[in-house]
């Protein structure tokens, strides 16, 4: 399906990442948003508050992030494509409803413009320390999808992709921006509506009285219904059977939760997207995401100028984590470096996958600003020397 032209502001624009995300939501067909003001994400809902009434959408500023994160889910079950937008402290408050969305399989989008934490931290300055919270923040076992844009253009593009993935897998999808990407202004090209692919919600075709909300018919993702269509269905956050009815047995728990996990894990390769540069034959690979990837590019250029064979692997999808690709590279590459604006989050996931078969270097940073390229550059050199000790440093 193509995008509804009403929401698509076709043309070349000069936008910051926050506003580009708003436009991405509009292009994706999002017509309901709920939010609570929080720096550095507020610009997203401000633009939505202004734009939605002109395209038949509804924005409501709720009393807190808890309310926002479940109001969007009510809207989805009423037939809307919906999202909420926040930053760290608000994201913490939303955790319960990420689990609720995972359990009911409610397709929806959460945007987290990350700032430096913990707690109130540095509201106007960048961080990347919510990455594990995005993956594990709600209680219980479930899987989510998380995307990491590194430019305003990608804030636009990935917001559309987030809505499409949410529909395809019936999961909450998180857009893990950061303050730098959110507030950086660049050229954003919005294509024409017929160039934008939209994944439609897959509604049940069951006859009235025969719809079972979690009957998958052998597939991984069941079709959905919306309130008012006559199916008179019931859904619950309790462990449930195919009818959506609560069942307190270990067998139903296994069946219910296993599918929530498997529908993402078994489709990981279809979901994951990466950007790679000279990773084949590299001695050292820098793995990065979000704003840190742009600092890494500078450091990599410096190292390449020295003759070091350094590759760059950018995580566009943070979750699910690209295990398969990293395992492939581990056999050929001596060292992996990850700079991130935290004291080690995605790094430890990477280290788990590397499993001691290559060296791994964490470049931690408390946030508040970005890494200096020189710091990454020095680590690249150090790692290259460790991997290829036969090459004299002077040869560089």
């Amino acid at each position: 399906m193509k995008a509804d032209p009403k929401g698509v502001l076709t043309g070349a624009h000069f936008l910051d990442g926050d506003h580009a995300c708003s436009e991405g939501a509009l292009s994706a067909g999002c017509r309901f948003a709920a939010g609570y003001p929080i720096t550095p994400s507020t610009e997203i809902v401000e633009r939505i508050a202004s734009r939605f009434p002109q395209v038949g959408g509804m924005f409501i500023q709720m009393e807190d992030e808890i309310a926002s994160s479940i109001a969007i889910q009510g809207a989805v079950w009423g037939g809307a494509k919906a999202m909420t937008v926040t930053s760290g402290p608000g994201f913490s408050l939303m955790m319960e409803h990420i689990g609720f969305a995972a359990m009911l399989e409610t397709p929806c989008v959460f945007v987290d413009v990350q700032r430096a934490g913990p707690s109130t931290g540095q509201p106007t300055l960048p961080g990347q320390a919510d990455m594990m919270q995005a993956r594990w923040g709600s209680h219980g076992d479930y899987e989510i999808i998380a995307l990491c844009p590194n430019s305003p253009q990608e804030c636009y593009d990935l917001t559309i992709r987030a809505f499409n993935l949410a529909e395809e897998y019936r999961v909450p999808v998180m857009i893990m921006m950061d303050e730098c990407v959110g507030h950086m202004t660049e050229k954003v090209v919005i294509p024409s509506p017929e160039e934008i692919e939209i994944t439609e919600r897959r509604y049940t075709t069951a006859k009235l009285g025969e719809y079972r909300p979690y009957f998958t018919d052998g597939e991984m993702v069941p079709p959905i219904a919306k309130a008012g269509d006559g199916h008179r269905f019931h859904v619950t956050g309790l462990t449930h059977d195919e009818r959506g009815y609560p069942v307190m047995s270990p067998e139903v728990q296994e069946k219910c939760v296993r599918r929530l996990v498997d529908k993402i894990r078994l489709n990981a390769e279809r979901i994951i997207s990466l950007e790679e540069s000279e990773t084949e034959g590299a001695d050292v690979i820098v793995v990065s995401y979000g704003i840190t990837s742009r600092v890494s590019v500078k450091a990599i250029e410096m190292a390449r100028a020295d003759g070091i064979k350094v590759g760059h692997l950018r995580l566009i999808t943070a979750w699910p984590f690209p295990e398969k690709r990293i395992r492939e590279l581990v056999g050929r590459t001596g060292a992996f470096i990850m700079p991130e604006l935290n004291y080690g989050q995605m790094f430890f996931e990477m280290q788990r996958v590397i499993d001691g078969k290559a060296k791994s270097y964490l470049l931690p940073h408390g946030g508040g600003t970005v890494h200096k390229p020189e710091v990454i550059y020095r680590t690249i050199k150090e790692a290259a020397l460790e991997c290829r000790p036969q090459v004299e440093e002077s040869a560089w």
Partner: protein, 283 residues
């Protein structure tokens, strides 16, 4: 199985028997509710019920309507999103005193302030039944609860006064003894445009009645009969409940105020001019 019940079309009979204790008033409230729903003039497909967590939270699962069992304290914001996505739905929030007024209290006052078009039914049994009888924001001062073993040392909310002050356009209170009045109140509340609120005082003999020596479910119903007075139109400031067990019942508030969507569309039409199309849902 429930056979030949005139409202069985609105009940998930395949889920019976329910989990509620004998003597609990919840079944009575559901009986009243389905009769109100059947008699309100709306097709059942258009009525959606949203519950939170707790004994009352289980109501949604026993109703053969589109029904959502949400998270603790959050049925009102879920209902807000649902209503705004599809304003043709009649959205009813059905939950307990702990869910709606402790963890969910903030959402209640804001939905009332907005005059969000929904009906909130609170089954008030003065306790958290599902977790074993803890003190709630409606437990009378001095009453015993598992987490107030020496008696509740806090003052309770007066729910009709809270709803009234926050802006609800319809406020009523009945007990499970007053089945006809409760049914009528729920029907009126469903038919009312805007934020309507019905408090149903209901016995929890297992956890509240037992600790407070109120006897079994039938004894508690006798108590409602003896201790309640009907004062329609009473000033909500005067209807608070205390340990004496005296209950003022009636319809306290029934007034007009533009609903959230009416106010929204009026404002936007005035500001955006003829280009603005009234918002009537996302579809």
């Amino acid at each position: 199985m429930v056979n030949n019940n005139p409202v069985s079309d609105l009940l998930r009979t395949d889920r019976m028997p329910h989990i509620w204790c004998s003597g609990c008033g919840l079944g009575t409230t559901v009986n009243c509710f389905v009769r109100a729903a059947a008699g309100c003039g709306l097709p059942p497909d258009q009525i959606t019920v949203v519950s939170g967590i707790g004994c009352t939270g289980r109501v949604a699962g026993y109703l053969k309507l589109d029904s959502f069992h949400t998270t603790h304290g959050r049925p009102i914001p879920f209902a807000t999103g649902l209503k705004l996505a599809n304003p043709r739905l009649k959205v009813v929030v059905y939950s307990g005193d702990g869910d709606l007024f402790a963890i969910g209290g903030n959402h209640f006052i804001h939905a009332a302030r907005r005059n969000m078009d929904m009906t909130v039914i609170c089954v008030n049994n003065f306790t958290y039944g599902m977790t074993g009888g803890q003190v709630t924001p409606t437990t009378p001062t001095g009453a015993i609860a598992s987490t107030a073993p020496y008696g509740n040392t806090e003052d309770p909310f007066n729910l009709p006064y809270l709803a009234d002050s926050a802006g609800a356009v319809y406020v009523a209170r009945w007990t499970t003894f007053h089945v006809r009045q409760a049914t009528k109140a729920m029907k009126e509340a469903i038919q009312k445009k805007g934020f309507s609120f019905v408090e149903l005082v209901s016995p929890c003999p297992t956890l509240y009645g037992r600790r407070n020596r109120m006897g079994d479910g039938l004894d508690m119903m006798e108590g409602y009969k003896e201790n309640s007075t009907i004062r329609n139109g009473a000033d909500t400031r005067d209807v608070g409940m205390d340990i004496s067990g005296k209950i003022v019942c009636g319809k306290f508030v029934d007034r007009e105020r533009p609903s959230f969507l009416e106010q929204y569309n009026t404002r936007l039409a005035a500001r955006l001019g003829p280009s603005y199309k009234n918002y009537e849902g996302v579809l």
